[in-house]
């Protein structure tokens, strides 16, 4: 925590910008490459929804513009949404950016409107690995983007990386990491490549990652980042001390957040709900002043306790020792305060641990 009042409960806002110039082969998220004609209407609807939600909203401690490609739309459109939200002083405001589309002017505009964190989708610094992921950008663009972010005076920089493609050798993986670290980011999100059904990559088993290879690479990633002074605070997230992503952490702390836009998820008062998937249906609903909700779920107290444990397990805060059964104890290490956290081997097997956790009313927080 930096300058946000620690006593204030955190509350996040996620804004989904579903537009892209190109769809990556692994992407299963709600994104479209052929809806540019909808951008202005869509963003106006996001602003309207923000206005409506703002009335019942606590002070917002983090905003995350995700996508899709938020830097595909004019900064003023993002600013219009931001302008409706009751921001807490020092709120973390992140924009996810495609390095190909980053311009110094846009970064300056972001800085002026209060954006203090930019996340660049680098994925890999090795051209043939990028090609294997179906990414179009040129890794040399990353350096220019980093400069643009820094020159604009945006304080926090994250780089997203993806590891595990069978086209990526161990050396390729190390090269990407070394290059990424050399840019001096404050934060790195390093995700294992996940074949999702229905994607180009998911439907081609020859492009699926190998579990053992992934495990080898993850161990290397973890070692390199630790050595470079980053701390792992969540399975896929490393940060310089104090520079963890508050918005991201909110998800793993079972925190409250509001989703704006299509396919965005919200969590308030123990209820999880999500909006319609397509931008067309979203625009239609907002204009008709109808609900954008497509589905929801409310967990009973037991389910909630278990969910809290399963989420916390992924973080460096860990879970109460009493929640961990003996047969996975060797995948855990002490985290202080009677808690246990995953070792690096344990993080690789987090699902196996998660489905074994006890959630007795005693022994949980």
């Amino acid at each position: 925590m930096t300058d946000v009042d620690r006593a204030r409960p955190a509350f996040g806002v996620y804004v989904h910008v579903p537009f892209c110039t190109h769809r990556c082969d692994y992407c299963a998220f709600a994104t479209w490459t052929d809806r540019s004609h909808l951008v202005a209407d869509y963003m106006a609807c996001c602003r309207d929804q923000a206005r409506e939600l703002a009335a019942g909203m606590p002070a917002v401690t983090s905003v995350f513009f995700g996508g899709g490609t938020p830097n595909l739309v004019a900064p003023s459109m993002l600013d219009a949404v931001l302008g409706e939200l009751p921001l807490a002083p020092g709120a973390e405001i992140t924009v996810e950016c495609n390095p190909d589309l980053v311009t110094p002017a846009a970064m300056r505009a972001y800085c002026d409107m209060g954006v203090n964190r930019v996340s660049l989708g680098v994925q890999s610094m090795v051209p043939h690995v990028l090609a294997a992921l179906g990414r179009q950008h040129d890794p040399t663009m990353v350096a220019a983007s980093v400069d643009a972010v820094r020159s604009a005076g945006i304080g926090l920089l994250n780089l997203d990386l993806i590891f595990g493609s069978p086209a990526e050798s161990i050396a390729d993986c190390e090269r990407s990491l070394t290059a990424a670290i050399a840019f001096g980011p404050d934060h790195l999100s390093v995700y294992g490549l996940t074949p999702e059904p229905g994607t180009l990559l998911g439907d081609d088993p020859s492009r699926h990652p190998d579990d053992d290879d992934m495990a080898d690479k993850y161990v290397i990633v973890d070692e390199m980042l630790e050595q470079a002074g980053f701390e792992m605070y969540e399975i896929s997230n490393w940060a310089r001390p104090g520079a963890h992503c508050r918005h991201n952490l909110l998800y793993w702390q079972q925190g409250s957040y509001a989703g704006i836009g299509c396919a965005a998820h919200s969590h308030r008062n123990g209820r999880r709900f999500w909006s319609v998937r397509t931008p067309e249906r979203y625009i239609e609903a907002i204009r008709a002043a109808a609900s954008v909700e497509a589905g929801s779920e409310s967990l009973d107290p037991d389910e909630r306790r278990l969910e809290a444990l399963q989420l916390a397990l992924r973080t460096s805060a860990g879970v109460p020792a009493a929640a961990v059964p003996d047969d996975v104890a060797d995948l855990m290490m002490p985290a202080g305060d009677g808690r246990l956290r995953l070792t690096v081997q344990g993080r690789l097997l987090a699902n196996e641990v998660a489905i074994r956790l006890h959630h007795s009313p005693h022994g949980t927080e």
């Binding site: 709600a30 053992d212 495990a215 965005a264 998820h265 047969d327 097997l349 987090a350």
Partner: protein, 613 residues
């Protein structure tokens, strides 16, 4: 479960009801290979004789069990009475698979003749031939018929001369019909009247009636199909069941036209049904002789045999809590199928279950399928085994049908295994392939006959254990489906047999133990460990899978410890999806059986034992 078909709209066939003198009765079965058109012919006969109107016909009327209809086979014998030009015909349907050979012989014992139905495009098949020999031995008249003459590939002349060569029946006597179009079926009915003799029997002698099928109906109890040989069987009679020993009251006798229609009595030569307040088919098995309790016959009819289970396996509920349900289901199923045997057994790996015995592999599959389908159970079946005769060093003979119960090698003097005389009919082009298969299954050839230049009958002596694995499937695949198979039991033969144990994480898993020939033990061990290594998912630790004879390891595979199982990204705050993935993974564990610390998917128990070697 009731097996009586729903009653059709039409209750009455023309001239089919009521009792008639033996001189006008003809009792016959149709002997045919699967797919040669027996059910279609039966349907056509019902239709032509007016027993069932066309509009109320359900395709293949006599195959009334769902399973029978799906698999295109008859499991239970059925019978129906129809009228044809002043005569009463009883059509007695017979089971169509080698597993049910005994039932066939009992059905034939109720007839004076058979219709030998052969596909005019394929010729006679092994099992048809075997049943036809049974009919000849029983001195039954044979009416040979070539079916499917409407097919372009039909070659009636060729197969008529094959019938002449194989069975010594004049080719000129072979009828040609199409059961599908009805072409030639009236002439067939005429030929049945002309060529099959009427039954004989003493109407005034003591009652002797043969039961050739029984099934359990939840409302009426056991309903038996009967053929009266001598005397009269009347509603209200007190009856003695001569083999089972029970005395029961004839609550109802009647005939099927095909709807069950009560009758006052059945006289010599008549075929019908009997309901006698019996709750268990074991009290009224096929082959049983029914006589009068008041004026009994001196002796039962000949040919009664208690069919012995030939193939055994353990059946276990996937969910151990369902053991009582499995017990009840087996008890209910047995009410309808006295040839299933079962007794409780405990497996270290699988918990509480039952050792079950079956007539053959098909019978085993059918029973298992019925248990799962009709009783909504999820079951694990262990490897099928045969019953070995083991002579211990103390000189005792013990029967072992569960490999895990084989005494330690040091206490065993000799193991003998059941043998079969197998007859295989195949187009001669596949002779080599069939011989290779029989050779690889430890068979020794006893005879080889050319039925025609194109068709060969091979006779082999083969161990039953080699036939119950996947012999039939292999035979079919190596001959593109053309070969057919029949077998007889041929006693026991001492062999160099050993038990191969499978160890999972160093602990023996009794469910995977198998007895096999010493020469086959190494390939078997290698194959099953390799298969298991494929089927068992990676765990949190290395899992060695070993095959062993006694203490000696003969094969080993290792399932390496799982290293990665973690979800990566959380899109747009979608925690729900993550949680659901974990819930599904947790659910998946329930479909696993924990053996020691190792989680084994239920499919592994089924798939591991289907080795395609």
């Amino acid at each position: 479960m009731p097996n009586v078909p729903p009653e059709p709209d039409i209750r009455q066939g023309s001239g089919a009801s009521g009792s008639s003198g033996p001189a006008s009765i003809r009792n016959f079965s149709i002997i045919a290979h699967i797919d040669h058109g027996k059910s279609t012919l039966s349907d056509r006969i019902l239709e032509l004789t007016g027993a069932v109107e066309e509009r109320s016909m359900r395709a293949q009327y006599l195959d009334s069990m769902d399973l029978e209809r799906e698999r295109g086979i008859t499991i239970k014998a059925q019978n129906v009475r129809v009228g044809w030009r002043g005569h009463t015909l009883h059509l007695i349907d017979t089971p169509g698979h080698v597993d049910f050979g005994y039932e066939v012989s009992r059905s034939l014992a109720a007839c004076e003749g058979v219709v030998l139905l052969v596909d005019a495009a394929q010729g006679i098949e092994a099992q048809t031939l075997a049943n036809c020999y049974l009919a000849l031995e029983a001195d039954l008249a044979i009416v040979p018929v070539l079916n499917k003459i409407d097919l372009p590939a039909a070659d009636p002349d060729l197969y008529a001369s094959e019938i002449e060569r194989v069975l010594g029946i004049d080719a000129g006597e072979v009828l040609a019909i199409s059961a599908k179009t009805g072409d030639g079926v009236p002439s067939l009915l005429d030929a049945i009247v002309e060529r099959i003799p009427p039954p004989s029997g003493d109407p005034h002698g003591p009652l002797q009636a043969l039961i050739f099928d029984s099934h359990f109906d939840q409302y009426r109890g056991v309903i038996s199909s009967v053929r009266v040989m001598n005397g009269r069987l009347a509603t209200g009679d007190r009856l003695r069941f001569m083999h089972a020993g029970g005395v029961h009251l004839a609550e109802e006798v009647g005939v099927r036209v095909p709807a069950a229609t009560p009758a006052d009595e059945l006289g010599p030569g008549e075929v019908g049904y009997l309901i006698a307040g019996i709750k268990d088919v074991a009290e009224a098995r096929s082959g049983e002789t029914v006589t009068s309790a008041v004026a009994p016959a001196e002796a039962p009819l000949e040919g009664y045999d208690d069919p012995k289970p030939m193939v055994f396996c353990g059946l276990y509920p996937v969910d151990g809590d369902e053991y009582p349900e499995l017990r009840d289901a087996l008890a209910k199923l047995r009410l309808n199928d006295a040839s299933v045997s079962f007794e409780p057994e405990t497996s270290g790996a699988l918990g509480f279950g039952f050792r079950c015995g079956f007539l053959g592999l098909l019978h085993m599959e059918i029973v298992r399928e019925r248990l799962e389908r009709e009783f909504d159970l999820s079951l694990i079946a262990t490897a099928p085994s045969v019953a070995y005769r083991v002579r211990t060093s103390d000189g005792d003979d013990v029967e072992v049908d569960n490999p895990s119960e084989l005494p330690p090698a040091a206490q065993v003097d000799e193991i003998a295994e059941p043998m079969l005389n197998v007859s295989i009919l195949t187009p001669s082009a596949y002779t080599g392939a069939v011989m290779d298969l029989c050779q690889s299954r430890r068979g020794s050839m006893s005879q080889m006959d050319y039925l025609s230049p194109e068709r060969v009958e091979l006779r082999y002596e083969l161990p039953l254990a080699e036939v119950v694995t996947d012999f039939f499937d292999q035979l079919k695949s190596r001959t593109q489906g053309y070969a057919s198979l029949d077998y007889d039991h041929a006693g026991y033969r001492a062999e160099r047999l050993v038990r191969v144990d499978i160890l999972l994480n160093s602990e023996p898993v009794d469910a995977f133990s198998a007895i096999c020939h010493r020469d086959g033990a190494y390939p078997y061990g290698k194959a099953i460990t390799a298969k298991l290594a494929e089927l068992i998912p990676r765990q949190l630790f290395d899992v060695p899978i070993q095959a062993a004879i006694g203490g000696r390891i003969i094969a080993r595979e290792t399932v390496k410890a799982k290293r990665k199982d973690v979800l990566s990204k959380c899109y747009g705050g979608d925690i729900t999806r993550k949680r659901k993935l974990l819930e599904r993974q947790k659910e998946g564990k329930k479909r696993m059986k924990a053996i020691g610390r190792v989680e084994v998917p239920n499919e592994a128990f089924v798939s591991a034992l289907r080795l395609d070697q």
